[in-house]
């Protein structure tokens, strides 16, 4: 009982001094207090009244709900119970949240992050049983409410407004939608952010900015808007910290960004510097061969890598984009052919066929013609094909425009 009182005293203190971090810690599920209070909680019968004695509403409800999560969920070791009760806690908190100020944001983050983690666990339990996952959807519903509360906060003084939590919660939602493969649902919240009366992104904490750019970059990537994706992802990569207290996680973040950034850049015609691969071996393993193939115009290697790495790339969601970048390898090869022919304006088609053969792909003349035609159609090669003379007539200046300038 004493322990509980001590705990409640700490909570009460934090509330009175408006210390968001301390309060958040007291409500976090992986904090020490969870196990320290285990015994005491078991002996208490009427939690709500015990808590109600020390705290005022709405905090009494919130803290009581949290203790319920601990007592009936964690200590019972039932994941689904935890998820359900945490959901209830989130609901209680979100309802009260509209009347709160900026200092409570850490509490919001804690509750919602815990909610997400626990719902994932609960869903895994369900899936293992053969049921359908449903906890994540519940969580998303609740967190969306919190998002709305942040986004549309009307409190007069900007300093104390909850608007500052918008991007953090938005990122959490984006994360969850991505995990649930429902990226199509992100458009609504992104639109509301764009239309809302918020401070500009660069005023928000850098962590929020980087995460936000990562997700928007990723979504643009899936939407095949590669220019936009390149912009967002590059920003994220640059501003993402590389060293800090949690280097492992930071490195992982960098790799996540690179996973999408490299194929994007390949399509846009930029190859990564060799030192990049030294720093991030996993990325090197995935995309190394493609980069090499493009650099050398080695179409055979490219095709081979496409089939070898297919499963992995599909898992990471980048296979289609890498496949599309194949044409860049072809372009490099053809350009080399042209150079070998002294950069003349008239090169026989057979020469290109020979080049393909040397690169290791066996193709007949008609197919090479087809590939040349495609290059011209897409804009990678400027010129035309003369059927009668079976030659390629190239533009005088710059028949191979830089890849970056070719529309995707």
């Amino acid at each position: 009982m004493n322990k509980i009182n001590a705990y409640l005293a700490k909570v009460s203190n934090a509330i009175d001094s408006e210390n968001g971090e301390k309060l958040a810690a007291a409500l976090r599920l992986d904090d020490d207090h969870v196990y320290k209070l285990a015994d005491a909680l078991g002996k208490v019968h009427n939690l709500p009244s015990v808590v109600g004695n020390r705290l005022n509403t709405p905090w009494s409800d919130i803290v009581a709900a949290h203790l319920r999560v601990v007592k009936e969920g964690i200590l019972e070791e039932s994941e689904e119970q935890v998820a359900s009760l945490q959901n209830a806690l989130a609901q209680t908190f979100h309802d009260a949240f509209t009347g709160m100020m900026r200092w409570t944001l850490p509490v919001l983050y804690t509750i919602d992050t815990d909610l997400r983690r626990r719902c994932i666990k609960a869903d895994n339990v369900r899936l293992a049983k053969g049921d359908k996952a449903r906890w994540r959807e519940e969580a998303v519903r609740g967190i969306s409410k919190a998002f709305a509360a942040c986004c549309t906060d009307r409190f007069g003084i900007l300093e104390k407004s909850k608007k500052w939590g918008t991007y953090r919660i938005l990122n959490l939602l984006l994360k969850m939608y991505t995990e649930m493969n429902q990226t199509n649902l992100t458009s609504t919240i992104l639109r509301s952010v764009a239309n809302a009366d918020l401070p500009s992104l660069d005023q928000f904490p850098i962590a929020d900015q980087v995460t936000f750019k990562y997700y928007t970059g990723m979504l643009a990537f899936y939407d095949e808007q590669y220019k936009k994706a390149e912009e967002c992802l590059s920003f994220a990569l640059k501003r993402c910290k590389a060293k800090g207290p949690d280097t492992k996680r930071l490195a992982k973040n960098k790799m996540l960004i690179l996973n999408y950034l490299i194929p994007t850049r390949l399509l846009c015609g930029t190859l990564p510097h060799p030192t990049l691969f030294e720093k991030y071996p996993i990325v090197h393993r995935l995309y190394g061969n493609f980069v090499l193939a493009i650099r050398n115009g080695d179409v055979r290697l490219y095709d081979e890598s496409l089939s070898k790495k297919q499963r992995e790339l599909i898992r990471r969601g980048t296979w289609l984009a890498v496949e599309r970048a194949r044409i860049v390898a072809v372009r490099v090869l053809f350009r080399k052919t042209w150079i070998i022919h002294d950069r003349t304006t008239r090169v026989p088609m057979a020469a290109f066929r020979q080049a393909m053969q040397l690169a290791g792909t066996e193709v007949d003349l008609d197919e090479v013609q087809c590939m040349l035609a495609i290059m011209i159609d897409r804009g990678y090669l400027k010129g035309y094909l003369s059927f009668e003379k079976q030659t390629v007539v190239l533009k005088n200046e710059g028949p191979f425009p830089p890849v970056a300038s070719v529309p995707l």
Binding site: N184, Q310, I314
Partner: protein, 609 residues
């Protein structure tokens, strides 16, 4: 065959809550009237034990639409004996034998004797109810000679041989009371719809059907509120148990206990594997049949077996429980398939064939037959649909087939996997050479699940090459593949051939200057088959065909070959050999056509435009 006895009828005692039926009633909350009535009855009766007599309620009661069902525990007592052997007569409850003519009771028993199977029982009950109602209305209840009256027509549909239910079926008194209740107007609805599960092990009519006897049709789909306290101790199991029809619940609980016992002795790993396997199979089975209830394990009780002997049957969408008289059993269906194959070969009447196949598939679904034969039926229908270009029907069959293969059932997996890939390709609405982002994921997901063995199959590897060619825009390879397509892949490719040809023409017109020979187009676009290049006749034919096609599209031609020469849009006969395609002039034509094609989409059934 179940037992009957004259006492069976007695215990079906009208209005006796204790003996009541598996035929529980609608939830009482539906209307207030039944509730009040139930209270009256309850007040008037002592329901403590199964053997208690029943009392006639004081007031004459209106004919309610619900029947009163005893609380569960009482039911158990009363029907406990009945479970063990078919031969045990149900206990005699205090039944006023003057309520129903003995001959009627016997008649009813005879009728039920003929209907061991759930569906039949249902039908028989319906008929009996109707008959008895009529008789009551006419006041002819006691006058009619029930002993000589012919049994309800539904009884004649008695099934032989293939039925699975009979040994377990017992004509419980529980079956009969509702009717008697209705007749005498003494039935009372349950205050709370405590389900009365008859003795475990007796497969009575599934919930839905039973309800149809007494309740307005709208009641059919509503769930039955259950007193969960009477169910198993496991809280999470309550939910799943609730989904079961009450009759099954007790059985399910016991089954679970048994199952749990079984697993205790197993090694944990094997147990997990077994569970996983079971789940997977169950899911596949369910997915293939789209059954609503995920927890029903014993299919036998629900299987209908058909009795129809006619080979051919027109397709009618089912609006109610199927009548076995109209459903063909498996051995008949086998003959039907052969017949249909012959007819298709000889007559080529697609409307007829499609109709017949749909009814064939319906019979299979209704009887829950999922085996190699089912696979054969779907595969045949799919191929026929492909041949006729009916993508909607093809898609339905293909979707089912993929589920059936997962069960697993053997079939032409490579072939149909290949078709699936091609189908996905053709449903992509493309802009330029790019895939529509919203549809590509499905194709990519499928690619991710292919194993190396999958990929080495003839049809699948062909389809994969097609996919690559389409993505890259490699028309040369694409039309080569088109002309060398295995099995029926070409029929699928037909649907995007036109679209791809237009795109190819646009590329050609963009790249080549000043013109190209028609023969080249014929070759590249697949009008000329790969092995025909030396065949003079074939070349000429292909050239003609290509001309036709190009002209139809509005292409612009040149006479007198490359460089100079007049432009014309209408090449005349003799000069055809010298005619070439004017690429610069034709470019806008094809560019426009491509734009228009890509603006169209795919409709719901899977047809593309």
């Amino acid at each position: 065959m179940g037992t009957q006895s004259s006492t069976g009828m007695n215990t079906s005692s009208i209005g006796t809550p204790a003996s009541s039926a598996a035929l529980y009633s609608q939830q009482s909350s539906a209307t207030s009237q039944p509730l009040a009535y139930a209270d009256v009855v309850k007040a008037g009766n002592s329901l403590a034990s199964a053997t208690s007599g029943w009392t006639v309620p004081a007031q004459p009661l209106p004919k309610p639409s619900y029947t009163y069902v005893a609380p569960r525990d009482q039911k158990k007592e009363s029907t406990q004996n009945g479970t063990s052997t078919p031969g045990t007569p149900p206990q005699k409850k205090g039944f006023d034998s003057e309520r129903l003519p003995q001959s009627l009771r016997e008649y009813v028993l005879r009728a039920f004797e003929k209907a061991p199977n759930p569906v039949l029982r249902d039908r028989v009950q319906n008929e009996l109810k109707v008959m008895i109602d009529e008789a009551t209305r006419k006041g002819a209840l006691w006058i009619t000679d029930w002993s000589t009256k012919p049994l309800p027509s539904s009884c004649k549909d008695s099934v032989d041989g293939e039925q699975k239910g009979p040994t377990k079926f017992q004509i419980k008194s529980t079956m009969l009371p509702p009717k008697a209740n209705v007749i005498d107007g003494l039935s009372s609805p349950t205050p709370k719809a405590k389900q009365a599960s008859p003795a475990p092990g007796s497969p009575l009519i599934p919930a839905k059907r039973r309800k149809s006897l007494y309740l307005p049709d709208t009641a059919l789909s509503k769930p039955i509120p259950v007193d969960s306290s009477s169910d198993s101790d496991n809280p999470s199991a309550d939910e799943t148990l609730k989904k079961l029809p009450p009759s099954q619940r007790q059985k399910e609980i016991e089954k679970r206990k048994e199952r749990a016992k079984r697993f205790k002795t197993d090694d944990r790993k094997t147990r997990e594997n077994k569970e996983r396997e079971n789940r997977r199979v169950r899911e596949a089975f369910l997915a293939a049949g789209a059954e609503g209830n995920p927890d029903v394990i014993d299919w036998d009780e629900y299987t209908i077996v058909g009795t129809c002997k006619k080979l051919e049957k027109r397709y009618l969408r089912l609006t109610s429980a199927p009548d076995p008289a109209n459903v063909r059993p498996l051995h008949i269906l086998r003959q039907t398939l052969e017949l249909l194959k012959e007819k298709w070969k000889n007559e080529q009447n697609y409307t007829y064939i499609c109709d017949q196949f749909k009814s064939l598939r319906q019979d299979l679904t209704v009887q829950r037959i999922k085996n190699d034969f089912t696979v054969a039926v779907y595969e045949t229908h799919a191929r026929i649909a492909l041949e006729k270009g009916d993508l909607g029907e093809y898609n339905q069959c293909a979707a089912q087939l993929l589920q059936l293969y997962k069960i697993p059932l053997s079939g032409n997996v490579d072939e149909f996997l290949g078709y699936t890939i091609l189908y996905l390709i053709l449903t992509l609405n493309r802009s330029d050479t790019h895939l529509d982002p919203s549809l590509a994921p499905e194709l990519v997901k499928l690619l991710g699940t292919l194993t190396d063995t999958d990929k080495s199959g003839r049809c699948v590897s062909h389809a994969l090459h097609v996919r690559t060619a389409v993505t890259i825009g490699n028309y040369h390879r694409l039309f080569h593949l088109y002309n060398t397509a295995p099995k029926m892949c070409a029929y699928l490719m037909d649907h995007f051939a036109e679209r791809e040809r237009l795109k190819a023409m646009r590329v050609i017109c963009k790249a080549y200057r000043p013109d190209i020979p028609i023969d080249f187009v014929a070759k590249e676009l697949g009008f000329l088959y790969p092995n025909q290049e030396d065949d003079g006749m074939a070349v000429v034919r292909a050239r003609e065909e290509t001309y036709e096609w190009l002209m139809e599209k509005g292409a612009v031609f040149k006479t007198d070959g490359a460089g100079g020469g007049k432009r014309t849009t209408d090449p005349t006969g003799d000069a055809k050999e010298k005619i070439t395609l004017d690429t610069r002039a034709s470019l806008p034509v094809f560019a426009d056509l491509v734009r228009r094609v890509q603006a169209k989409g795919v409709d719901i059934k899977g047809q593309i435009h």
